[in-house]
Symmetry: C2
Subunit: 424 residues, 2 copies
Amino acid sequence: MNETTNLSVKAAQAIILQHVKALAVETVGLEAALGRVLAELIRANRDQPPSDVSAMDGFALRSADLLREPGAAPARLTVVEDIMAGDRPVKTVLPGQCARIMTGAPVPMGADAVIRVEDTRSLAEDMVEIGRPVDVGNDIRPRGDAMRQGEVVLTAGTEITSGVVPVLATVKCAQVRVYRQPRVAILATGNELEALSAAFDPEKIPDSNSYALMAQAQELGLEPVLLGIARDDAQELAQFLRRGLDYDVLLVSGGSSVGVHDHVRPTLAELGVTMHFWRVEMRPGHPVAFGTTDRSLVFALPGNPVSSMVCFEQFVLPALRRMMGNRRLFRRTLTATLAHPLKARPGRTEFVRVVLTRGAGREDSPAWVAASTGNQSSGALLSMAQADALLVVPAACAGLAAGATATVVLLDGGAFQSEPGFEE
Amino acid sequence: MNETTNLSVKAAQAIILQHVKALAVETVGLEAALGRVLAELIRANRDQPPSDVSAMDGFALRSADLLREPGAAPARLTVVEDIMAGDRPVKTVLPGQCARIMTGAPVPMGADAVIRVEDTRSLAEDMVEIGRPVDVGNDIRPRGDAMRQGEVVLTAGTEITSGVVPVLATVKCAQVRVYRQPRVAILATGNELEALSAAFDPEKIPDSNSYALMAQAQELGLEPVLLGIARDDAQELAQFLRRGLDYDVLLVSGGSSVGVHDHVRPTLAELGVTMHFWRVEMRPGHPVAFGTTDRSLVFALPGNPVSSMVCFEQFVLPALRRMMGNRRLFRRTLTATLAHPLKARPGRTEFVRVVLTRGAGREDSPAWVAASTGNQSSGALLSMAQADALLVVPAACAGLAAGATATVVLLDGGAFQSEPGFEE
């Protein structure tokens, strides 16, 4: 256990990831596979396309027929067959002949190139005029161009994105072996908390952390369970924590700081949880703890809503993604310039909630500009609702000037923007 | 209808968005609200925090008690009460006194500042020594700091991210008014297609487009319906299309090009679909069409798998997001440098599938480097499975040099990366 040393965010992430591996494997239908991670290697079960096919709507022909003296009249070819995708051509294309062919349709015997319909002129139902030559193989997709039978098309550990799903469909994987998803339990602690379903009490603090953590886990495609609110009572807390340790991951918010009334710490120890650290040199989120049993991970997150969310982003998210079998554990970062100066207290890595806008108001500007969402108090929940990203201020840094460059970590709500964002 | 002019991607997007508005409003539980868009304005129903509370575990005291001559002995204060979060303090802090206080607990009468426990020394159970002064208000979160009763905290049109969910919980919105989600139907066309459930036929082309489009719609949180495969037969096609027009959005893949066997175009016209364009100056994806009825949008997407997916990204996605009530319709873009030269045919905006890696192999480098996934044929499905992003080559551009800067549009699978990506 690392009680006193100054643990950096990355060092804490590394400690956590040492204790995490992908969960067991299960089978799901392809319609439910998006966002899961492949636990098997997938080979092509066919050549794709199954034969040489046309890449265009046009005419399949013998390229030699189009090689004419400069200044000669255009070639005229007789159309001997119409070939649609799914057809099997019956005729061989002989010199002076061609076949009308659709995109994806098999190229007939005799033909060695395709010319697209836009480059031809129809003279009659069975006669077409072509004024320019084409190379052998022009606009033909050769057999096996997309995949060859037996070839490895996907490896275990591949995240099943929308680009992967059609590959699985192509090799007829209606059922897919994937890593099981972690079961996540969420527990709030504190006498001051009011449950969402409880009557309104103006002196209480509504339990928002349970719902923030729920939504953060849902963003990853998980179905977390809310255990409720444990009061500051050792016995009640032990009961709740014991229940939470039945899950793969237990998230406890509140009660992890150093005050005398903190029951979480001794109770976790009594329940056999080995704690690996209790704090990290970050702001917000300083009092964050991580422990393990032989079957569960436990994160004790700060009671402040924003601190709790930032700690989820930095510590819980990579752990959950690794359990899900992912190789990419961290949210995408990009570089932005600061819209205004930013003060920081050196000593801890600081995560500043920011909104991203286009540089100089130009939608096609490549530069992202980051501006603080305002009140950066760790209780300022609205700032997290407005944020597109977390801007990282390194621990050694006492502040950044307007126009300075900084790394921002995109939040899920930062995945979309108002404008297409490119020049045509 | 815009049959012949050269329609750019952005112009096509603009035409589509003229015909799209947010759908009707419905009510969902907070546990099912993530990713939906608020259709109501939300005001705070309470001051949050409900009173001045401590921001730290420490001692609430009178700041004047700590103002001592330079060189004087540290102040010693008598601890008169322990205040936990959720407690109501009963004593007033008098000169020479303090109260032990937990994070989030109400500041007692008489006290005007908090000092954190780390800056104090305990002399006895009821006596604490403090060597430094604090300002009035130190480490106190004033009443209403996070939100004030009656204040607008969220506006209609706000996407319900994980940062928004806890705000809704705080104001006790267990039920939320959101825009309805579009019902999406997906139809594949073509005699050459083999259904996922059909027996393997080495000469057929497996229907991958239906599953690609399914997954792309699922990525947006929708539950699309697969109508199946319509053969190249006018009557069968009409039957399928009529069924598809019962949905908010109908996606038809294949059959939209200019070949003589194309039934989609006349059949859509017969069914009363007004077509707004039939092609866009882009690569891949040239033959893409958009039409409307009084209640449905129809997208006729190319039969090539990659073309179909890129057209979904550029045209269907922003339309669906607007129907869902979103203000941000487009995927996030970032700037990357090219790992290698890239040839392009001028005349059409080109979308190149790329993988993103860190510049110079340094995980903390701010620069993203884009490299082609290889085979950029529109039939090369694997390239889409591997892609993190689509790199945009402007239409006027005949190629880009290695090291050139370009805009890339992040795909959903590009939302995560292998390393934290920031310097601490």
